[in-house]
Amino acid sequence: MSLCLLLAGLLPLTGSLAQAQSVDERLESLSRAEREYVGRHCLPKEYEEGAAAYRDCVSTALDARSTRASVIFDTLSFDDRYALQEVCAERESTGPDGGDGRMQACMDEQISRLVDAPEPTTPDPGALTPSERRDLADRCTTASNSVAAYRRCMLDGASDVALPGAMANVDGSPAVSSTAEVSTAEFSSADNSVVDPPVIAAAELAPPSESVIELAQAETTDTLPETDVSPALEESIAAPDSDAAPSGAPLTNEEPAPNDDPDSDESIATGNETSVASDSPDDAGLPPPDIRQRASDALARLNLTIAGLKGIERVVLGTAVALPLLLIAAWGLTRGSRARAAEARRYEDSLSVRNHQLSNRLREKTGRHTGDSSYPDEYDDRQAALTGDAAALPDLFDDREHHTARGGVDVPSPEPMQRAKSERDLDVTLDATLPNDIAGSASVNDEQGVPVDEGDPLDDVVGEGFAGSLDTSLDVRKGMPSKDPRAADRETPTTSTADSADTSAKPSPVTVPLSAFGRWIESNDERRRLELAIEFLIYWMAYGDERYDPETRSRLLADGGNDGDPHDLIKRRVLEQDINAFADTVRWLQRNANELQRIQILDLLMVLLVSDRAMSPLQNTLLRYLSDAFGLGDATLEERHEVAFGRPMSTLPRVDLMAWWNRVSEDELLRWDARTVMQLDPLDQYRSQLGLPMDGTLDEAQIVEGFRWAARRCHPHRFDALGDRERSLAERQYSKFEEARDRLLGVTA
């Protein structure tokens, strides 16, 4: 399509260029003198009116030459034209002030007189042999001072040789045809004889009588109108002119200027004069054409052509010139983009290799599968999923910006990398000081004592509001039937794998529920089980950090909550710290949730309960264990953490070591406590929700950036393997982040 449009646009330019080329070609066909004349005549028009006017001028001149003037000149017999040139050249060279005007005047005069002269019809000059004709022409040229006299001389001479007594045609009827025929025949023979011109004695031919000539001129009218020349005549005339020289003509290297235009225009005649001179033997003495000059002329013509282009033509020409450049530029950009893409692929491959290496190391250490990091990143389609302000802020979900702003998800910034290394060093140190303990397990959240916990994502629901809010958010399907949870609650577990104290033994995984809670979960319908198990884990992690309403806790522990309410049952089990219920929940998820669901369960826990830079030791430990139990491994968990928060996850906490605590600031310690955060100023709570600094002035970019990360974590596509209930929880969390952003930006009161 584009090509067609381009071609369509190029058509006018092509026509214009073709026209310019045609004019140029026609100019090239002229002699140099003619071209110079045309230049002198038409260049002023070009400067005054533009290149188009120049072309028109040249075309007009050439057309006029090819019609009116050329009709007269070209229809002359070769002998007449030769005589015309000879006579005028003689006069010009002998005149007092030779020049273009004299030459033109001479030719005009001679043509005028020649037209009025009688045309020779008989005798047939073709009857003469070439040598005879050449001698006769030489004699007549010498003896005649005009073309008319030359013609009559030739007629007389021919009559004397072939048809004695033959007279010139005095009735004024055109005899051009016969003359042309003679000329054609003449040149046909001349082609064969020009190499060896015969010599004829001038005395054999008598000069024409001037009186006869004058008489003929007096009685002859103009019998050669332009329109009387038939195409056949033109053809018959043109033939010999094109490639033959007259017999005995003193022209050496070119034909006798068949295109020299004896136009009435004096300027044109001037050019003819020069052309004739160039056709003369003197032309051999001209200096060779200067290549530079020709190039300059060509460049000048090109400039004129370009300058003469009109608006659309210029546009098309510009397009034609620019298109290759654009293609080259596009090619360069494409190549650069491909190079960048290839580099990115190489980098991703290296990351993949890194992850696989890590997984392999873990597999070697544990002898088990450590999980694969091939979880598809569904963030690409993030914009269409969120509604409301999320849709109005599509750029907030640009992963790459986040990665760049936070040192990269895939490429941890030097600071966290250095920090991780430092933590490992600390771990080694701690291991050396801890007999009978485990190497590689200590961790800190900030090696330099800088607070890394700046808030809690659920600060606004901790304490008084936490339990109720979480209950409400989890009760999106409240009223769904459950199968007698109280009855299940009254059941007691039969056995537990916790009975085993032999850590070297590897008992087979438990495949049946060991607690009443586990059996209760399985008693629900299949669609409901996953929701209940996830809900239990949410409460387990939240309540583990004491994010519950004390009154609700007391009520639930006292009377078991609302009868038949599965949420109350779950909360009560959690508040009772039923580790067997926890174990059964983990087992059930391990057996029944697929890998993607297990990954998204971890994501959901982080979204709902973990705030940026505020992962408590309990959360860290629990997430790491669940990741292992779910078959995902540390590599996948840390990858998910980096995707969610843009920074590496702290290593496994060692809260039993004072050295570990020494690297945790009091401020950080304080911020792990959601209840403490709930007592802060509302704006500080919003800061903590978005992971923003708690002190100092915030600019808009910081707030938006913090919201970007928080909103990204809540993206529904990150939970598409879970149910509507879990996605609804994430969306509610997103709304809280929105509110925090708006309040901090001052959008809402």
């Binding site: 088990r368 599968h369 067997n580 174990a583 030791p617 309990l618 264990y625 540390d634 039993d656 792990w672």
Partner: protein
């Protein structure tokens, strides 16, 4: 991880009990050096530290209760959990931190 509460024979959930136990110089685990005991006492003297330690104790007990999940074909063991939970394994049905 060390179960400091168990080593000192104290109930982590009962702050008053803990304080009394820490103040009692006679309470000293046999497998701990005086320096280690002093370190633990320093650690447990902090309310926030003690609180988080208590919470972690529960999690390790829960992990111990579900450690069999790591025996599954698709499970991982990135942190050698079995060794970490040695001091936190509880009897079946026991709820050590139940109110």
């Amino acid at each position: 991880m060390r179960n400091l509460f168990a080593r000192f024979g104290i109930d982590g959930s009962d702050i008053s009990h803990l304080e009394r136990a820490l103040a009692d110089s006679a309470v000293q685990p046999a497998d701990m050096t005086p320096a280690e005991v002093e370190e633990v006492q320093t650690l447990l003297s902090g309310v926030e530290r003690r609180k988080h330690l208590s919470r972690l104790h529960l999690q390790y007990q829960a992990i111990a209760a579900s450690i069999d999940t790591l025996d599954g074909a698709d499970a991982c063991d990135s942190h050698r959990w079995r060794k970490r939970i040695v001091e936190f394994e509880v009897e079946s049905g026991e709820r050590p931190h139940s109110p």
